[in-house]
Amino acid sequence: MSRVVVCTWGTSGGAEELLTLARGVAAGLEATLGWVVLGPAPHDVTAIASRQDVPVVDHIEHEKLQSFGGDVAVAALADYVRQHDFRVLLVPQTFDARLLAPRLAARIDAGVVMNGLGVVVEGGALAVTASAYGGDTRVVYTLAGEGRFVIGVATSALAAEPAPNPATAVTRHCAVDLAAVEERVQVVTRSEQTGPRIEEADVLVAGGRGLGEKANYRLVEELAEALGGMAAASRPIVDEGWAEPARQVGLTGKITRPTLYIAAGISGASQHMVGCAAAKTLVAINRDPEAAIFRYARYGIVGDCLEILPALTRAVKG
């Protein structure tokens, strides 16, 4: 029987959501559902697997996986696949996954699709819905033939649902041969980002080109501080040097999930919205009543952000 396998590592998150999606794919393909964990497993791995009706969790541990270089990870997975074949391998689309998934696919001659938002089986064939043009459009790819496929899935929009019939999961330790693998790319320095990150912030105030000039970014920072949150930014103002790169939200910046996201002077381009659409409540401040950002917002204020940001800061400080 063929297998649909979810592959995770580290604290990539989204495992349970992806397992729920994979369960549907496995049912459609009349395949069994598997989960392979590379390196240290999350503490609640057995509980999640049981809830999601995954009978066996494959665990790949190897001392060379400690530092998690690309060469080692790809070799480990390729060796695992040689021993335990699959039809579809689903990975949560993290920064590392964007590199690992296509490398593994090429190594084992599988097809690869990234940016998946949904995967369904239609008439025995796999169809992946993915975002394109930075989110301006969606595309549906058909994956033809009997071959293997590796699919990267953005898990932030997925929901986890327990299986109707939970399993009692067991862990199977899978040995892989990494004797011949040496990491070709050596890390020389790594700037450990210290302090809080916008990815984890509960409240974000983001500024865009509508701020007009660099000095006005202070208004964003002041409101963020008053709210106990963090300041964020659209890409053009990061490119201009008004805000630090670590503040950038969007397709080529950070994917955030705050409770509250206040966007000031941001037009609402899809490349930006990719990074904040998961906010629970989105507030838009824009002087153009037709601005696209209002389509995504829960609350909107039409007006000059240079007046409204300070007004909000005053009101918060009350």
Partner: protein, 271 residues
């Protein structure tokens, strides 16, 4: 000994123009259900690929003798003319119907091209194509060539090392910058943090007029049609609908600010 650089460049629809249509809610998919039809959307070089060329030119300007080839799979030759005007040595079109290829086919052709040259020391790509956003071709090319790959670079430095070259790349990661060292040959993908790509000079444009774009076919690269049969096909493209449910808050700045805070507090979004 000179460093052989190959830059892979793709022609895409201008993402800013696509964006503008999307922002106005006027983006339309054609009758085929797959392609964007607005004829006024220009085609140009993927911006990250332009920055990959920029990275190559900076290596040359840093004093490393280089030959720079820019290769594109597809029909469009305008982007290669543009590349030529920037002062690269060799623009090459791999003539294939890009619409009938998947990423695996494109990567096979690019790898075959590099092999046909007896290899390259540095293969530079964009981090992703702004049309499909897949970002898979560079890793596929690297695996086909058996090379390491370093993604999302903000800078690429090359120095001579023994009878080869050593490459240092600063990568932009979610945790901040990471500097890595890798011996050539290597595939590197370039991100926008590299900075603005240069514009062609007048002299560059003149020189480019005389430069011919070399055209090669898959057969000449020894790639059989079967190897290019797509596994992944685009079945459909559509514009997602955003269901707007925005409540507009009016009044002067202070009034609106107070009203907004009251609502956020009532909904427990803020305490």
């Amino acid at each position: 000994m000179s460093l052989r650089i190959v830059v892979c460049a793709k022609e895409v629809l201008d993402p800013d123009a696509v964006n503008n249509y999307a922002l106005e809610g006027r983006l339309v998919i054609g009758d085929d259900g797959k392609s964007l039809t607005q004829s006024s959307i220009p085609r140009l070089m993927n911006a990250y690929d332009e920055q990959a060329i920029e990275a190559a030119l900076r290596v040359r300007e840093a004093g490393v003798p280089c030959t720079i080839a820019v290769v594109s799979v597809g029909e469009g030759q305008d982007i290669l003319k543009h590349a030529a005007s920037l002062g690269i040595d060799e623009p090459v079109a791999i003539h294939a119907d890009a619409a009938s290829l998947d990423h695996h086919g494109v990567a096979r052709l690019l790898a075959a091209f590099v092999r046909s040259r007896g290899g390259a020391d540095l293969v530079l790509c964009g981090r992703q194509a702004s049309d499909d956003d897949q970002g898979v071709v560079p890793a596929l090319v690297a695996e086909h060539l058996g090379l390491p790959v370093v993604t999302i670079a903000r800078s690429v430095d090359v120095t001579a090392a023994g009878d080869g070259f050593a490459v240092r790349v600063v990568r932009v990661t979610p945790d901040g910058d990471e500097t890595v060292a890798v011996p050539a040959p290597v595939v590197v993908t370039i991100s926008n943090e590299l900075g603005q790509a240069r514009y062609p000079t007048m002299a560059g444009r003149m020189a480019a007029r005389k430069k011919k774009v070399a055209v090669v076919t898959p057969a000449e690269l020894g790639v059989a049609p079967e190897a290019l049969r797509p596994r992944i096909t685009l079945a459909k493209q559509f514009v997602p609908t955003v269901k707007g449910a925005c409540e507009m808050i009016g009044g002067g700045a202070d009034e609106a600010a107070a009203a907004l805070l009251a609502r956020l507090r009532a909904e427990n979004v803020l305490r």
